[in-house]
């Protein structure tokens, strides 16, 4: 167990914590905007995980600089960039839906909406 709690693993633990917070917000919070906020927290937690996977101790950022050999892995970075685009598209579309739902039903409370 003790070998789990080395400093390099801290980002993974934080990422799991954020994942759970985001999931909680999406499932248990009743406000529709809060659910979208939860979705954003969930996706950033995945991004944090991927960036932490790419990180190498003593590595330099993946930008070509003369005289540097050891770079951190740039592949997960491109994954995260794509993920950020996707999260932005999802968020904006979901918020448009939320505005439309509010105009149609006059509430953003998930429980009340289910009763309609």
């Amino acid at each position: 167990m003790s070998d789990l709690v080395i400093p390099g693993n801290v980002p993974y633990f934080i990422s799991v914590a954020l994942l759970l917070i985001g999931l909680y917000a999406m499932v248990a919070r009743r406000n529709l905007i809060k659910k979208i906020m939860g979705l954003n927290i969930l996706s950033t937690s995945v991004f944090l995980f991927l960036i932490a996977v790419a990180d190498k101790r003593g590595g330099a950022p993946p930008i070509t600089v003369p005289g540097v050999d050891l770079y951190v892995n740039p592949l997960p970075h491109t994954l995260v960039l794509t993920g950020i685009v996707v999260a932005l598209a999802l968020t904006s579309f979901a918020l448009v839906l939320v505005i439309k739902i509010y105009q149609e039903h006059g509430t953003l409370d998930a429980d009340r909406l289910m009763k309609l």
């Binding site: 801290v10 009743r30 406000n31 509010y102």
Partner: protein
């Protein structure tokens, strides 16, 4: 990883919890913006400056703005039970 980075990341969790549990949506959005900025800083700490730049522009900038518009067009407070 020094103490400063550890504190930075713990602050992420605190901010996320605050954003989720605040009843004032506008305040929660502001907290979420700070969370995104902090995430960008953490990304630079993990040697991903390109991702950090994007996260700062998208997460803290555009996403927050979209949230603010949505809240302005709907309801600012979460409804009570």
């Amino acid at each position: 990883m020094g103490i400063a980075e550890f504190l930075l990341m713990s602050l992420l969790v605190v901010l996320a919890v605050a954003a989720v549990f605040m009843r004032d949506l506008l305040a929660a959005t502001v907290v979420f913006m700070v969370y995104s900025l902090l995430m960008a800083i953490v990304f630079t700490q993990l040697k991903a400056p390109d991702v950090a730049l994007t996260e700062a522009a998208v997460g803290a900038g555009v996403t927050t703005l979209l949230f603010v518009i949505a809240i302005a067009k709907t309801d600012r407070r979460e409804e009570d039970v």
